[in-house]
């Protein structure tokens, strides 16, 4: 084989601590290497051209580039050598940046290690075989998990582009957190007025099939051909028959049911429609509160339903859908504010969360849009807002900024002053973070035009004194302790990953960070992709963000899906396991260890049983390769021979310097 070695300086990233020229010179001594050089930026266009020209000029049959991590540029260089006529798998990349130059400042040691890494790559390349991918058709349907604003945006964008969309929502209505908001910053426009029409669009769009009150049970397959099990949870109401007339909700006697839509500030009936604009507008029975389901008495809803839709014997049902791409938009939950015992959230009725305040202000909320205290229904005259409750606090394991609290406090103080013009509002904050378009101006408006008292400092304690709550804090600008007598305390609760986020991530085989937010493929350059091909992210499930950013990411995920679906087929990766049937002893160990179920039995004409790899299911993890006793199953492009060759030159090779 005729091999060319190209050592990249990567500006000073590599060249500062690795003598690239010496590495290239040394490479010429390795077997089969006929050409070696170093270059400033191998990934640049002239860099790639230099590789292509060398392939032609020196009649190279294989190329090693010693540069950054293959995760960064393997695709780039494979494409470059392919253009010059080589098979793209006749290329190896030695990582002399992340694994070498960035680690140590010792140029001599780094150079030695770089030489070793290049030596190993050359040796592996000598055993490389050209590999060829095949084409499989793409199922051009997309699954959107989560029916909040970013999921809705993604679904509508996909549907408008002609794609068939399957939307799965855990709650009995779509709309997510945004449906609970009264107004939105920084424009103070009505949240349900801008969200409502989009929800209706989802219901009316023929391309969107909505599974509300359903959850993802299983995901199998791969980009282009996923199989998804969806569990339709029992609603005890036949939604095909239910017209959403609401008669049942008027007559249901179990009126003390938890009202999740109003964040527990109100109660509802056991059979309920969460709110008038709910999509789908169908009734659901909450089995925790239904008298019949608890004690087998009542059945009033069944008697009264004009379309006979009540089904007390309904059970969960699982359906399967086939899709080609998945958009994950599962949103978030509020941080559990009870971790702050000193604030008394959940303990004192007049200490409420930001989202509960939204319900208080909302015209569809428990008090019809009048801000009243939950404890006694009186109008509060002094309202204290506490920022960063569950954000930027390493002591409770949440060092990150929720990104939305500063802004929603500014909105809420403006709303409070609009609703109760003679009320006083106080905001305890650490810093004001208002980096969005028109955000800073909006906060200034709250401070200056609305006369809200912003106090820079943390609150140490909230306690009741008579009818009031005393908020004890510090003003760090004046350096004094502050006590405010408040009628209502609003905790600007931060953002936490959605309940069940980790379990879903495991089903989807995507990664998540220590807080449960899903990991994007690259923090800057691949913000909506995940490391599982064909799975995209939208909204807060990827990290805290506000509505504009969630909508933008929803559209971005839709665009990525459209781009994927613009092709009719996708190339399969040939780096998968292969069985040498002559060597296979039919022990079946590979079938047991394969986490993807991609190996099955195959009966040969002589009746013997052999293992067989399903090309489209194999993910190339190599577990079977490591397990196989006679080494009959080999992971292509990473065979035992190739790994042993690398180890051999590393161990037996001459010591440098």
């Amino acid at each position: 084989m005729r091999i060319g070695v190209f050592v990249c300086k990567c500006g000073t990233n590599i060249a500062a601590t690795v003598d690239t020229e010496a590495v290239a010179r040394k490479a010429l001594e390795y077997p089969d290497v006929v050409y070696a050089t170093d270059y400033m930026y191998s990934c640049s266009e002239p860099g790639q051209q230099e590789i292509q020209q060398a392939i032609e000029k020196y009649d190279l049959q294989g190329v090693v580039v010693a540069a950054c991590s293959p995760r960064m540029h393997e695709v780039t260089f494979r494409r470059a050598v392919e253009k010059a006529g080589l098979n793209r798998y006749m290329f190896e990349q030695a990582n002399i940046r992340e694994h070498c130059s960035w680690i140590s400042k010792d140029t001599e040691a780094n150079t030695r290690k770089a030489m070793d890494l290049v030596r190993m790559s050359v040796e592996k390349l000598r055993f490389n075989q050209p590999l060829f991918s095949s084409q499989v058709p793409i199922n051009k349907r997309v699954l959107v998990i989560g029916g909040g604003i970013s999921g809705i945006q993604a679904a509508l964008d996909c549907a408008e582009g002609g794609l068939e969309v399957v939307m799965v929502e855990r709650e009995s209505t779509i709309g997510g957190k945004m449906a609970k908001l009264d107004k939105t910053f920084p424009t103070i426009d009505c949240s349900s007025c801008i969200l409502g029409p989009k929800m209706v669009d989802v219901a009316q769009n023929e391309n969107i099939h909505l599974y509300a009150y359903s959850e993802i049970e299983s995901v199998s397959g791969y980009m282009g051909n996923f199989k998804v099990g969806i569990r339709k949870k029992a609603t005890y109401v036949d939604w095909d028959a239910c017209t959403g007339c609401g008669l049942c909700t008027e007559k249901c006697p179990a009126k003390k049911s938890f009202d999740g839509f109003n964040e527990g500030l109100d109660t509802t009936t056991a059979i309920n429609i969460p709110f008038p604009q709910a999509i789908p507008k169908k009734a659901r029975i909450d089995p925790k509160y239904c008298w019949y389901l608890i004690k087998e008495k009542c059945k009033i809803c069944q008697k009264i339903c004009p379309v006979d839709a009540i089904r007390f014997d309904m059970e969960n049902e699982t359906v399967e859908e086939e899709v080609g791409a998945i958009i994950v938009a599962t949103g978030f939950d509020l941080v559990d504010h009870s971790v702050y015992g000193e604030y008394g959230g959940g303990h004192y009725p007049d200490v409420i969360t930001g989202l509960q305040f939204e319900r208080l202000v909302s015209a569809s909320g428990p008090y019809g849009g009048h801000i009243l205290r939950p404890s006694d229904g009186k109008e509060p005259k002094n309202i204290v807002f506490i920022a960063c409750v569950g954000s930027r606090d390493p002591s409770i394991g949440r060092p990150y900024c929720s990104g939305i609290c500063c802004m929603y406090i500014a909105k809420q103080v403006i709303l409070a002053r609009d609703h109760i013009p003679d009320c006083n509002c106080y905001v305890f904050y650490i810093d004001i973070r208002a980096p969005g378009k028109n955000y800073e101006e909006f906060v200034r408006r709250a401070q200056e035009d609305y006369g809200v008292q912003y106090i820079r400092g943390r609150v140490g304690k909230v306690y009741p004194k008579g009818e009031h709550l005393v908020v004890q804090g510090i003003d760090t600008l004046l350096g004094i302790q502050v006590e405010v007598e408040a009628d209502l305390v609003v905790l600007a609760t931060g953002v936490a990953a959605s309940a069940g986020a980790k379990e879903l991530a495991e089903k989807l085989r995507i990664s998540y960070d220590e807080y449960g937010f899903y990991m994007e493929s690259h923090p800057k350059l691949r913000p909506v992709e995940t490391n599982t091909a064909g799975v995209f992210l939208a909204g807060v499930c990827q990290g805290p963000k506000d509505i504009p950013a969630s909508v933008a990411q929803g559209s971005a995920a839709a665009a990525k899906t459209q781009a994927l679906f613009s092709r009719d087929t996708i190339e399969t990766d040939p780096q998968i396991a292969r069985v040498n049937e002559l060597m296979c002893i039919g022990c079946g160990k590979c079938i047991d260890v394969c986490p993807f179920g991609s190996i099955q039995w195959k009966t040969l004409r002589d009746g013997s049983q052999k293992a067989e790899v399903l090309d489209t299911v194999c993910q190339g993890c190599g577990l079977c390769n490591a397990t196989c006793p006679p080494k009959a199953i080999q992971l292509q492009h990473c065979t035992d021979d190739q790994i042993l060759a690398e180890i051999e030159v590393l161990c037996a090779g001459e010591r440098h310097g």
């Binding site: 702050y340 015992g341 000193e342 008394g344 303990h347 306690y463 009741p464 005393v470």
Partner: protein, 302 residues
């Protein structure tokens, strides 16, 4: 190993043999009544609170550590102390031992395994006896008495040291008082500072801070304050006249140790509880109650 009905090491500390002997008396009497044998650590020494550990943390830790080593020598695995400040010093010694084992043992010059566990008397009562047992065993109920629990700064904090109860909103004493039939309002100042650190040098600060606590107790209609710390008790009780001078108030608020309350409720002779040592007399409080002994019936235990 279950700690109830058995022997544990007892570290009194300087406060309870000096200014707060009633805490020592009532703790011993209560434990005896509850079947816990307290074995006083022989030849115990200063825990090294503030002065020693401000001079040299390691030396201070070894000073407190000697008491732990002596307790281990007796073959006991738990050491209880009524004083939260001593408790912090003992726990600090363990921590220092874990981090700098070699130098710690070098100074100590005694065999020490670090297996012993220091706890407060409140922790012993709450975790090992528990409100349920108390409710079953009491003879006198504190019915119609409003009692606010005051924990002070050290009983539940810092959380990594105390490892007991909610650091910001402790409830152990609340539940013990409720078990005795007392009415226990939500006391917002239960962990507020009493100003003890300035007790000698700037006692107007103590007057100011302690006054706020007493005032809040009065607002809640308290008949008495329950405490579990000698310094808290001293500031709220002994200095109550100073507080009254500072704020121009007329507080007459009994400040009683939780061990005294429990001892009384269990029917221990008040003389053994040192109730006569309190500066603000609690006699009326207990007189009214003791005149109406109420034997517990099935219905009231529910």
């Amino acid at each position: 190993m279950n700690r109830t009905a058995k022997r544990i090491a007892y570290y009194p500390g300087c406060s309870v043999v000096g200014t707060s002997v009633e805490f020592d008396q009532s703790t011993r009497a209560l434990c005896a009544a509850l079947g816990i044998e307290l074995v006083e650590i022989p030849d115990w020494n200063c825990c090294g609170s503030t002065p020693a550990h401000s001079y040299d943390p390691l030396l201070g830790a070894a000073l407190a550590g000697r008491n732990l080593a002596l307790a281990e020598e007796m073959g006991l695995d738990v050491v209880m102390t009524p004083c939260p400040s001593c408790l912090k010093a003992l726990k600090g010694a363990l921590r220092e031992y874990e981090e700098k084992q070699h130098s710690f043992l070098n100074i100590l010059q005694m065999p020490f395994s670090g297996q012993i566990r220091p706890i407060s008397v409140l922790q012993l009562l709450y975790e090992d006896i528990g409100p349920k047992t108390i409710r079953e065993q009491i003879r006198y109920r504190l019915t119609n008495k409003v009692i606010v629990p005051y924990y002070g700064c050290l009983l539940s904090r810092p959380p990594e040291f105390a490892q007991f109860d909610d650091p910001e909103n402790p409830i152990s004493m609340d539940e013990l008082l409720q078990a005795m039939g007392a009415s226990v309002p939500d006391f917002p100042y239960k962990t507020e500072c009493c100003g003890a650190a300035y007790g000698v040098t700037q006692n107007h600060i103590v007057g100011k801070m302690t006054g706020r606590i007493l005032d809040m107790a009065r607002c809640l209609g308290a008949d008495a304050v329950a405490v579990a710390c000698p310094l808290c008790q001293q500031n709220l009780d002994l200095r109550q006249s100073q507080v009254n001078r500072y704020w121009h108030t007329t507080f007459q608020m009994p400040v009683v140790y939780i061990t005294q309350f429990l001892g009384f409720a269990l029917g221990i002779d008040p003389k053994k509880l040192g109730l006569d040592k309190l500066f603000v007399s609690a006699d009326d409080l207990f007189k009214e109650t003791s005149e109406q002994p109420e034997k517990l019936t099935e219905s009231t235990t529910a």
